[in-house]
Amino acid sequence: MKSGKRGIWLVTTALLSVSLLFGCTGGKGTPADTGDPEPGKDGETAKKIITVTFRDDGIGENGAFYKWLKEVSASYPDKSVEIKPTPIQASEGDYFAKVALALKSKDTAPDIVTEDTFILNSDASAGYLEPLDDKLAGWEDWGNGSFIEAMKKGVTASDGKVYGVPYNTDSRGLWYNKDIFKQAGLPEDWQPKNWEEVLNAARTIKEKAPDVVPIWMNMGKATGEATSMQTYEMLLYGTGERLFDDASGKWITKSQGILDALTFVETVNKEKLGPPLSKVLNGQAGNTASREYLPQGKLAISLDGSWITGNYMETGAAPWPEYKDVLGFAPMPTSQGQEPGSITLAGGWALSIPSNSKNKDEAWEFIKYALGKENTQKLVMSSGNITVRADVAKDPEYTKMPFNEIATEYLQNAEFRPAQEKYPEVSTQIQTMVESVATGTSPADAMNKYAQDVTRIVGADHIVEK
């Protein structure tokens, strides 16, 4: 009797442990939701599922991209495929990591993915993305001047191949509140000629309107790429210096331009022309400036991107119908007013096809449809972005949107971030450098630290000092 009981226990334990071990093997039998044709229900013919991955910043189905995708897929003529949104809800930084992880495996890679041009080159070097040159060659729109030629640079990786079709871009400049300017006795049609004029305007505001933050620039590590691009690179490129020397293929780690750019940041903080550090060194700093301070009249000048007006639309995060009249958008001048007079950095997003996608041809057909003139226009107008298509840029409906024309005009002098796979890593060093200057480190010390860190990342053979 006793041994019989023990026998039962032994069998049960053995079964349990075996089942546990089976649980450890990958569940190959379960259908992945990533584009395998699913058997049709109720005898319908099988539909191919094309998954589209994009970033959901927390507003879910109310997001501009989500709504647009729904609309475009509803009108998509090819009914044999189903377009399935598979958004990733994440902060901007986490989105890139999550996408990279998803693209690594055939089981998780979507068929279409939205890529920031900033990470596109890295993902292309990693072999995650499909080069589109052959496909683009057969697409009339790509070759006939419908796309603004300069925008193709943003989706071309360092190997010279194109890895995505751009759908929006942005420019950067100085947003300013005309009401505050009037109150401080500054011109409502403000066109600063050099950095000194920008600083002087901020000084005047500090004196005349002491409750207002004179100028806001993102200066923290927590704001990530916004600190690198909207603040540091706008300043650095305005001195005539660049991050990366294309001729020699080396990163510039020390130069007068870097010092000048950092000195601007230092001046803003030393003279207390900027926001309180507790607000600006915070991950939410960008939203605090664009969604709270600027609309509430607590901020006079903001060095930010053209997209912030997307917040002020009826469907945006901080509706503000008066923004059209209250806000002005001045070009960011070069440091001394030297040629070309003003500067802007351009970024933007593109649709790419992952190498691990199982439905590349169907995905490409959909991209062509979605990024044709009409559909692109709908997307940029609902999200407050700038178009990459020349035909949309001329459309009266597009140009009548406030600031669209002016922001598109700035793109003439637009610069792109270096299409280098080390850029994302160098960018985090830029953020560290800018934050350290904002918190009191001298520009020279911060630059030395930057030089050390960048050398470590790219190797001593790939740096140059000027």
């Binding site: 546990l20 993902d123 072999g127 991950g283």
Partner: protein, 296 residues
């Protein structure tokens, strides 16, 4: 003891049975613990990356990740921050506070113990991320703490910015003290009343009873608890990440935060794994120290 059991049960059968019954747990340990650790160890010698050229081909780069780690000034800052956080919130905070609460509750009436116990436990049962959000809104610029102090006429303090390390230490104390309290409560209940009474009869003062009877009696519990709390605190990530993100600057960047930044913000998984091994090493060294002190 062991010779006795060998005599009672046939030796060979016993060996096989214990092995058999341990098999499931050994399998689980191998798959979910040993294998990942070995894999981490392997990856720490490679250039494994999330994106970029390195993601295409995995290369063996020898000790590069480790030499980089020892040259990186942020690693030194992170180790320092980890130790400050550990000593402040675990060794001093949770351990001492938990012990004090347990001691004060000893032999009090049931209602008192229940009420206080529940309040302290509230912090512990709250999930880490919820706890982080609660304390973020408590210490935030427009948070509860500032509302209280401005009510009394003081000016606002930007807690998370001016004293970030203190805020995360307090948060972790609030979150974790209950664990130590429970452990010490159980230990203190085991101290026999007779011995204490005998000491009182012999004229021992309260302080003498505390240092000569209670502390020696629960010494092994103190060490065990110290070890558990230390290991828990070394791995704290969500709480710090949600409250300060490791900032401002690097002032609250502990090793887990630094590891995350390297692996998922800079996409250098290989370097990240090397840092995780450093963290593991620190945990092992501290555990060994505690175990050794227990033997003495």
């Amino acid at each position: 003891m062991s010779s006795l059991s060998v005599d009672v049960y046939p030796k060979r059968r016993k060996t096989y049975t214990w092995l058999f019954f341990l098999l499931p747990s050994i399998a689980i340990m191998l798959v979910f613990f040993i294998y990942p650790i070995l894999l981490t160890f392997f990856y720490s010698f490679t250039n494994l990356a999330l994106t970029g050229e390195a993601a295409r081909e995995l290369k063996f780069i020898g000790l590069d990740n480790y030499t980089r780690m020892f040259q990186d000034p942020t690693v030194r800052i992170s180790i320092w921050n980890t130790l400050v956080f550990l000593i402040g919130s675990a060794v001093i905070g949770q351990q001492v506070l938990g012990f004090l609460i347990a001691l004060l509750m000893k032999q009090r009436n049931k209602t008192f113990r229940r009420v206080i116990g529940t309040i302290v436990l509230a912090g512990w049962v709250t999930p880490e991320i919820v706890c982080a959000l609660c304390l973020y809104s408590f210490f935030g610029d427009e948070g509860t703490l500032n509302a209280i102090i401005t009510f009394f006429g003081f000016s606002e303090v930007t807690w998370l910015f001016t004293v970030p390390m203190l805020t995360i230490i307090l948060a972790n104390i609030w979150h974790g003290t209950a664990f130590s309290m429970l452990v010490f409560q159980a230990a203190l209940d085991d101290v026999p009343n007779e011995i204490e009474e005998a000491a009182v009869v012999d004229g021992a003062s309260k302080w003498k009873i505390f240092t000569r009877i209670i502390i020696p009696y629960i010494k092994s519990t103190i060490t065990t608890n110290m070890m558990l709390v230390t290991l828990q605190t070394l791995g704290v990530f969500g709480l710090i990440y949600a409250m300060t993100g490791g900032g401002p600057g690097n002032s609250t960047t502990t090793l887990p935060i630094f590891m995350y930044n390297q692996a998922f913000v800079n996409y250098q998984l290989g370097y990240g794994t090397a840092i995780s091994l450093l963290l593991l090493l620190i945990g092992i060294v501290l555990s060994l120290l505690y175990i050794r002190s227990m033997k003495e």
